[in-house]
Structures are given as C-alpha cells and as structure tokens.
Symmetry: C2
Subunit: 234 residues, 2 copies
DNA sequence: GCTTGGTAAATCGTATACAATTTGAGTCTC
DNA sequence: GAGACTCAAATTGTATACGATTTACCAAGC
C-alpha cells in the first residue's frame, strides 16, 4: 500500500522527487499524459510547488525507467516507444512474467488472494464508471502485484519497468479504443492462484501476454508523423 | 565502441555526469571500489574536476542501476548486495541470458566473432599480467556484448545491470581469491557462435551461469556485521 | 571505564542565480 | 510568397550559496 502521500497527515509535507515521479508516472499510466508530451520543468515545478531541482531529479529518474526521454538542451518528453521497442517490451515480459506467476502461485497467501480480488473488483468498478485510464493503470498494477508476491525484488523491478512502458505502447498501438476485455484473464489467473497451481498460472500468464500483444497494431509506419511523406506519395 | 572519452580529442572536454558514472562504474567492475565504500560528493567532484551537481547526477544514476545505495542525509555508498539479492541477480541472469545467447548465435556476423575473440584474448592478457580487476571487468563485458549482438535493447539493458551487480556479488561472495577459470566457458560459447548453433549457445550459457553461482559462497550470515547481536545471543 | 551530553566540523539537500542553448517571431531580400 | 537572417524570449544546464542533518570529538557525570 503506502500511497506515497501527496498531502498526507503531517500538515506541510513538502513533495519529494519520488512523490513527483510517482504522480507523473500515475498520469502516464492513466493516459492523462500521452507519449510525446513535453514536460516543462518550470511548469511541473509550479504545479507541485517545488523547485526545478526536484523536478529534474524526478524526470531523470523517469528517464531511467524508460518512461521519459530527455533530450539535451531541449527537455523531457513522455517517451514514444518505437514498434521495435514495443515488441521488445512484450517479449521481455513473456520471458519474465510466466515464471514469476508460477513462483507467485506457490507463495500465495490468503491475504494475497484477497488483495488481488479487491484489485480486480476495483478494475471492474473503474471500467463500469468509465474511468478507462484508471482501469488501465489498475490492470498494470495487477501484474506488478504478482511480481511482488513472487518475492523476487530484482525481477519485480524489471517487471515494474516493463508494465510501465506497456502503458506507452498501449497508448500508441492499441487497436480498439473501447474495452480492455482482459478482466477475464485476470480472473482465470486468480483461480490458478487460489489452487496454488503454478503450472496453470504460468501457462495462463503466457497466454494472457500473447493475447495482449495480439491486440496491438505493430505494423511498420502507422503512427510515425509522416503526414508530409504520406501526402506526397499519393 | 565510443569509449566515452574521459579526455578525448577535443582539448578541454568537461566531464559529463555520464562520464563520471562510467568511470565510477568501471572502478566498481574492476574491484578498485569495493562494496560499502563511501562516495563522498566533494571528493569525487574534486577528482574529476566537476561540481557536486554533476556528481550527484552520476551517483543517482548509479543508484538506479543498483550499483550504489543512497542513504538520505548520509550519502552514497557502493552497494552491498545481501545474499538474497546475490541469488536474485544470478537467477535473473539465468532467466535472460541463455535465450539471449541463442538469439545472438543466430544473428552473429563474422565481425562479431572477431570482436568477441579479441575480447577473450584481452581477458587472457589481463589475467597473464596480473590485472585481475581488469580481467573481471572484461569477463562481464563479454556477456554484455552477447546481449548487444542479440539486438534486443531492452533485455540488453537488464543484462547490463545484472552483470554490473554481479561484480559486487563476486567481490563479496567469491570463494577462491585466485583465478577466474572461466575463460574455458567463454571459448566454448564462441565455438557455438561460430557454428551458429543456437541450441548449444543456450545450453552453454545456462551451464556457465550455474558454474559461476557454484563458485559463490552464499550461505547465510558470513559477511553481516552482527558483532553486537552475536555476542548477546550467546 | 563506560556512557551521556553538547558543540563544532563535515556533509548532504535544496533553492536560486547566471550562463548556454534552443525556439520563434519578425524582417528583409529575392 | 518562400527562404535566410537577426534578435529577443523561453528553456535548459551548471555552479554556488545556504540551511538541515549527521558525524566526530571531547568533557562531564555515574
């Protein structure tokens, strides 16, 4: 839990760079910040009431996660993964997450199950009330929670990064703008977890990731700003 | 290539934070900087002739890689992986590198082979002239080069991090202080690469990593500073 | 002797000032 | 009008000053 308190209990808690990075990261995960958007240092600092020093720390941290691209003397932008990078992200997830799901299944406690269940319900609620961005973020968090339960901090860090970047990929390459009909997959995973069935969990996760990729449109040259060239080539 | 020129061609090239991080990282890889060592900001800045601003950027970057631990108001220290973290690093490598070796084998060009060969020779030369730290670094670079050849930037980044942290693990938990008798393993891998034999490459890499782990001493409580508690529990 | 307390030095955290670079508008020319 | 040029405004990069925290040392007390 630990909600990285923006303005929590203790009256005048000044925001740290971690807070800023978390807030910005959430915004990216919820598609309130979209790939390519400029993150002006003064502007961000003004919004959160901190100096540029702190903002720069946050932006550089996000740069390391691959969420933000920093161009020298030009500033920070929400990253725009290329098609190759998009493929890589999901290939890496396919390499890490199935085994992680298996490990998680074997370590799963009743408390974990309850928590994951709550997570799925929240996701449902978000979808029902039209908060697609929030639903998307929660859907990613589900994967991160599984990694956390697997109790492998190193791989958890990698998965967290990959899930993060998946938000960008989805923003750029998702086919159907409407539903994220994947809650079924998460339910199925939860069943495997309840039965402590590592094999199923591994297979379900593998299938789930393949399913996700199959809903992306990763053909070359679709989202590149080729307006000029496209107009001329006709 | 691009050797991140410390003082390259252009006369007065002021060191960037990337340069500083690279220099410090090399020092860690070569065991000139050992786990636990304090990295004083003023001191580092003095050595490289840059202000603390730049040093702090470098140290935070290394923090993200897991090479450095930053404690608030206390400063940056070369990281000291616990035994659990040490295990995790090699488990993650075992998950990523065999498949990466396979992919590399399939994409390997004659130029790549030549380069890897040179790498092995350099490693030999370093060992022969007693530069164990350099040999260790080169040995790690070998793995990173394979990742690069596999042409999967995302996984390459992960492997780079893991190899980096492996240097720390080796500094803390390596059994025999003398030789790193692993050049044989690298030779065998090279043979597989020359034959474009992905299966062999994958298997050899898996075995090589297991071999490495087996030379570590990862039993509990050997390097922990428990003098007080240990004395009291008796 | 060992601990406790207090003060000065060392060190880190952050804001800010200023330099360097990019951006964009406006002007001029062809 | 399209393109090249100039200059001001906006923005980022870096050094530095200053406050906050930790550390280290030394003296006093039990």
């Amino acid at each position: 839990m630990k909600d990285s308190g923006s303005q929590s209990s203790n009256s005048k808690s000044v925001a740290t760079s971690e807070d800023i990075a978390a807030r910005l990261t959430d915004a990216v995960h919820e598609h309130r910040l979209l790939p390519g958007m400029k993150l002006n240092e003064d502007e961000v600092g003004e919004i959160f009431g901190v100096s540029r020093t702190i903002v720069r720390q946050a932006l550089r941290a996000m740069g390391h996660e691959g969420l933000v691209t920093i161009e020298r003397n030009r500033g920070a932008f929400v990253a725009k993964p290329t098609i190759k990078e998009a493929r890589e992200v999901f290939e890496a997830r396919a390499l890490l997450e199935p085994q992680t799901a298996r490990a998680a299944a074997e370590r799963m406690t009743p408390a974990d199950i309850t928590m994951l269940n709550q997570h799925i319900e929240d996701e449902h609620a978000a979808l029902a009330s039209g908060k697609y961005g929030l639903a998307l973020k929660l859907s990613g968090d589900f994967h991160v929670e599984i990694a956390r339960i697997s109790d492998h901090a190193t791989i958890e860090t990698f998965i967290r990064q990959l899930v993060s970047r998946s938000s960008l990929v989805i923003a750029l390459y998702w086919r159907r703008r409407n539903a994220l009909c994947e809650s079924h997959a998460h339910h199925a995973l939860l069943d495997a977890f309840e039965n402590k069935d590592g094999n199923s969990a591994e297979e379900l996760m593998k299938g789930h990731l393949l399913d996700l990729v199959s809903q992306l449109d990763l053909r070359e040259a679709q989202n590149t700003n080729v307006s000029l060239k496209a107009a001329l080539s006709q």
